[in-house]
Amino acid sequence: MSADYHDHDDHHPSPWGPHDWGHGAPHNSFSPLIMSIGCGMFLLMLGGLFSFGEYDGRYLPMIFVSLAVIAAALIVWCRQDMSFDGSYEPRAVGVPFKNVQVRKVGVWIFLWSEMMIFSSLFSTYMRYRQGIPRCDTVFESGDWVEGVAVTCFEPASKLIASSWWHIAPGAINTFALIISSFTIVQALRWANKPVGSVDEEVRRKRVYRYLAATWCLAALFLTLKMIEWFIGFHVPEIGFLGLHEHDIHSLYSEGYLINNDHYQAHHYVDEATGAHMVANIQVSASLFYVTTGTHGLHVFGGIVGLTYLTYKAWTGAYNPQSAVSIEYFGLYWHFVDLVWVLVFPFFYLY
């Protein structure tokens, strides 16, 4: 710890930032704590807003209050970090992390909690996927009565992997995330190039362009997810490719919904009798939307972070000394990619 820690009062002119990083003392920001409280409030109020499928408008004002708390905490955090130039990057002095950056270890410990969140979602998925019979198995067995809903597991892949066009948004998203993982390590590489080995203006442009590319790919990911969930798309007639005009329906318009206890799909019609099997798919749809939605929220969080990093890079703030910020954010972003590596095959393809 620096000798001048707390030995004068003017190094912290305002609790709202920006910090003076030059004196070598810790700068523990209260903003992440405030932001966490805001996120907790938001989730609690959102749960109240749609309690058991019923809309309750009394919670709406508190939703806006919680969003304001999150926004305020983020603004303060960004103001505090904008002045960070990498001059103070504490390293651990004891085992087992001796000489490892303290913040890097902190990011890894944060990723532990993320691992546990997704592990719980995956284990729940495995549990129900094995514990509930598949809808197509029930249909083929003939063990159902028309008009009486059968509780069964209808994986989203039944719709998503039914054709190349249906799978296109998810497949493009997979490539988008892998490319974004690559662009962010390229941003880090350019920020890390030794001073003097590259023109500073070239460094500035490369870093912010790679970060902006990562931002665009993340936005593409969420856009395609919205198309896949809610919007669908139109495939035009392209004669020389042998393509016929048709619509690709969204999961929403196909009736793949978390509250659907009377799901009717065209592939569950008995050709001999014309009878239609009706399925209760609440468990399978909930698992799909909660898991992929949680992942999507992480991508959204990444977009918020990338917006700030790209702006800071645009000001030319990143150099070998301060590049660690990109590295730490990159760890989070690669983790989001890692989760998708598992989500895509098991929720979209299988």
Partner: protein
């Protein structure tokens, strides 16, 4: 990171490898594997799951090792151990939630039922 793979830049090689593996994944789902599945005495769905699982493992390792710098840096060893620490809890969670089943106690395979191995 200044590591190389096969004499070329590690980031680029990792990127190309990941793209290739993802292409194989998507192709495996779209392709008709019914005849291949018969050869392995399994359903097409089971074969697809095997292919997807086998491909996901190297993809997972490639992203963690190269992009997350868990290979080739001074602090890679301790940070890899750090990253693996929750594995114990994850395994416990998968075993006790993910792989449980309503008829787990009755539906166990013979090799893990009492009475085998002279027990």
């Amino acid at each position: 990171m200044s590591n190389t793979i096969l004499g070329r830049d590690a980031y680029w090689m990792n990127f190309f490898g990941l793209m290739l593996l993802t292409l194989i994944e998507v192709a495996a789902v779209g392709a008709d594997l019914s005849s291949a599945a018969e050869g392995f005495s399994m359903t097409e769905r089971q074969l697809t799951l095997w292919i997807l699982t086998v491909i996901a493992i190297p993809k997972f390792i490639m992203i963690a090792a190269i992009f997350m710098h868990l290979w080739g840096e001074n602090d890679s060893g301790i940070l890899t151990l750090t990253a693996l620490f929750p594995a114990f809890f994850i395994i416990i969670m998968i075993l006790f939630i993910g792989l449980t089943h309503p008829d787990a106690s009755m539906g166990l395979p013979d090799w893990c039922r009492p009475g085998n191995y002279g027990l």
